[in-house]
C-alpha cells in the first residue's frame, strides 16, 4: 500500500540507533527523505545514514542539542539548504535519569526538563512555521507510558513528557486550521539490548498483558500510520504502543 511518503522530508531526532534508527529505516523504505539528528552517537549516525541511502532516498545528518534553541535553528538552516523544508517530525530524542526524586541534587533535574519538554518547544517553534506556510505537516512526539501513569524512578522525565503531551494538544488546536497534525506516541518498555537480571525481566514482563517487551518494529508501524495519509483526521491524540501495559 502506498503510504504517500515518497519524497517527503522527515526529521527524526535521536535517530542514530535503536528506535530512532528503526523509524528512519522504515520511513526510508517508504521513499521518504530523512533528516537524521543525533547528538553524540556520530559513528552510529553515519552508519544509519549509509543504511538509509541504500533505499535510494536523500539523507542529511544534523547534530545539535535539542535543549538549545540556537542548535535547533542551525539544524533547520542545514536541512532547508540540503533537503528542503520539513514535512514531518518524529521527536524520538529524550533524556532520563532512573532514580527516586530525593536522590537528585538541586537542579540536577534541569537537563531532563530541557530535553524532554523544552526540546519539543524548540522543534515546534523552529519547524512548524514552515509547515504553516505549506499548509500541511505532521509532528509526532514519542514519550514513555510513565508520562501518563507516573513512575517513581522516572519522576522528572515523566513530568516533562506529560507537559509535552499537553503542549502538543494545545499546538494541535492552534495549527489545526493549517492542516497540521500533532500527535504523541506513548511507549511501553522497548527491548533495545538492555541487560536485565532474569528475575527483574520476568517481573517486568508480568505487567504486560501481551507478555513480552516491545520491539523496535512494534513502533515503526504506528509511526508510519501517523505520518501516512490514512490518519489525516487524527490530531491531538496520544497513541499508545505498550503491549497493554496501561489502558488509560
Amino acid at each position: 500500500m502506498d503510504l504517500k511518503l515518497r519524497k517527503k522530508n522527515i526529521l527524526i531526532t535521536g535517530g542514530a540507533k535503536g528506535v530512532g534508527r528503526g523509524i528512519a529505516l522504515a520511513l526510508a523504505s517508504e521513499g521518504a527523505n530523512i533528516a537524521l539528528h543525533y547528538q553524540t552517537s556520530e559513528t552510529e549516525a553515519i552508519e544509519t545514514a549509509r543504511l538509509i541511502e541504500e533505499n535510494g532516498v536523500k539523507v542529511v545528518l544534523v547534530t545539535g542539542d535539542l535543549a538549545s534553541l540556537e542548535d535547533v535553528q542551525n539544524m533547520r538552516t542545514k536541512i532547508n539548504r540540503d533537503l528542503g523544508t520539513v514535512d514531518g517530525i518524529v521527536n524520538n530524542a529524550g533524556y532520563a535519569q532512573f532514580k527516586s526524586f530525593f536522590d537528585y541534587q538541586p537542579r540536577e533535574w534541569q537537563r531532563e526538563l530541557d530535553v524532554c519538554l523544552n526540546g519539543v518547544l524548540h522543534l515546534a517553534y523552529t519547524f512548524v512555521p514552515d509547515m504553516i506556510a505549506n499548509n500541511s505537516g505532521k509532528f509526532i512526539n514519542i514519550v514513555g507510558d510513565s508520562a501518563r501513569t507516573g513512575d517513581r524512578n522516572l519522576i522528572v522525565s515523566a513530568a516533562a513528557r506529560s507537559g509535552a503531551i499537553s503542549f502538543l494538544k494545545s499546538l494541535a488546536q492552534d495549527v489545526g486550521s493549517s492542516g497540521i497534525q500533532c500527535n504523541t506516541v506513548s511507549l511501553g518498555l522497548i527491548d533495545q539490548g538492555q541487560s536485565f537480571h532474569e528475575a527483574t525481566l520476568a517481573k517486568i514482563i508480568k505487567q504486560y498483558p501481551l507478555k513480552r517487551l516491545g520491539k523496535v518494529d512494534d513502533i515503526t508501524g504506528c509511526i508510519l500510520f501517523l505520518l501516512s495519509s490514512t490518519s489525516d483526521w487524527i490530531t491531538g491524540q496520544v497513541l499508545p504502543v505498550n503491549g497493554g501495559h496501561s489502558m488509560v
Binding site: G176, F225, Q237, G244
Partner: protein
C-alpha cells in the same frame, strides 16, 4: 500472507461500508453483516467492483441468536474469522429528560449488547484459530460526553471498558482488541440527526480544529491500522479520530 476474513457489523452503509472497502483493499475477504440485507448486498457489489471478495450475511446484533447464526454461516463458508469490526450503532439525539425507556433499550441493545454478542460468538473462533484482531467502534461521546446523547454515551463508554477488559483476558491468546472513537462524522446516522437538529453541522465544524466533519474513510484508516501487523503490540487502547475536537 494468509487470506484474512473480516466480519464487519453494520457494514451496509456509512462507516461500516467504508471500513469494509478499505479492509478489502488490504486483501481481506469481508463478511458484510447488516440487518438490512439490501444495503449489505450493495456493499458487496462495491467491494467486488474494486476487485475484492465479500459476502452479505443478515445479522441483527441485538439478538444473540441472530449473531450466532450469522457467525455459523460465515464459519461454514470460510472456516474462520480473523478480524471482527464491531461497527453497528444507532442513536436518537434528544435531552435525557425527554427520552423514553424504549429508546434507551434500543440504544443499549444496538451499541453495547451488539458488541457483547459478537464477541461472545467470535472470540472462541479466534482462540481456536490462534489469531484475532478486534476493533470496536466507540464514540468520542464515550470519552467526553455529548449533550443529547446521554444513554448513547453510556453505552459507548461501556464499549471502551469492554475493550480494555477483553484485551486483558484475550492477550494470552494473542488476540488484540482496540477501540476507535470517531468524532462527529458525515454518515447516514448523522444526516438523520440533522433532520431534527438544525444547525448541528455548522456548530460542530466551528468547534473542530480541522474545520470539517469526519468522512467515513477517515475512520476506516484507523480501523485498518489496528487490524494490521503494524499494531501487533497495541491492545486495550482507544484512539479518537476526531479532527482534534477532543483530546483526552
Amino acid at each position: 500472507m494468509t487470506n484474512r476474513i473480516a466480519f464487519v457489523t453494520g457494514a451496509g452503509s456509512g462507516i461500516g461500508r467504508e471500513i469494509s472497502k478499505t479492509l478489502a483493499l488490504r486483501s481481506m475477504t469481508i463478511v458484510v453483516a447488516d440487518i438490512h440485507s439490501n444495503n449489505a448486498e450493495e456493499t458487496v457489489s462495491m467491494i467486488k467492483k474494486q476487485g475484492g471478495e465479500a459476502v452479505a450475511i443478515n445479522c441483527d446484533v441485538t439478538s444473540l441468536e441472530s449473531v450466532r447464526n450469522a457467525v455459523k454461516e460465515s464459519v461454514d463458508i470460510f472456516r474462520k474469522i480473523d478480524v471482527l469490526v464491531n461497527n453497528a450503532g444507532w442513536d436518537k439525539v434528544e435531552p435525557f429528560l425527554k427520552s423514553e425507556p424504549d429508546t434507551w433499550k434500543r440504544i443499549v441493545d444496538i451499541n453495547l449488547m451488539g458488541q457483547i454478542h459478537t464477541c461472545k460468538e467470535i472470540l472462541p473462533v479466534m482462540i481456536e484459530n490462534g489469531y484475532g484482531k478486534v476493533v470496536n467502534i466507540a464514540s468520542d461521546a464515550a470519552r467526553v460526553g455529548s449533550s443529547g446523547e446521554a444513554v448513547y454515551s453510556a453505552a459507548k463508554g461501556g464499549v471502551v471498558a469492554l475493550t480494555k477488559t477483553l484485551a486483558r483476558e484475550m492477550a494470552r491468546h494473542k488476540i488484540n482488541i482496540n477501540c476507535v472513537a470517531p468524532g462527529p462524522s458525515d454518515t447516514p446516522m448523522f444526516q438523520e440527526i440533522g433532520t431534527y437538529n438544525e444547525g448541528i453541522k455548522t456548530a460542530l465544524e466551528k468547534a473542530i480544529p480541522f474545520r470539517r466533519l469526519a468522512q467515513p474513510e477517515d475512520i476506516a484508516g484507523a480501523v485498518a491500522y489496528f487490524t494490521s501487523e503494524d499494531a501487533k503490540f497495541v491492545t486495550g487502547q482507544t484512539l479518537s479520530v476526531s479532527g482534534g475536537l477532543t483530546m483526552v
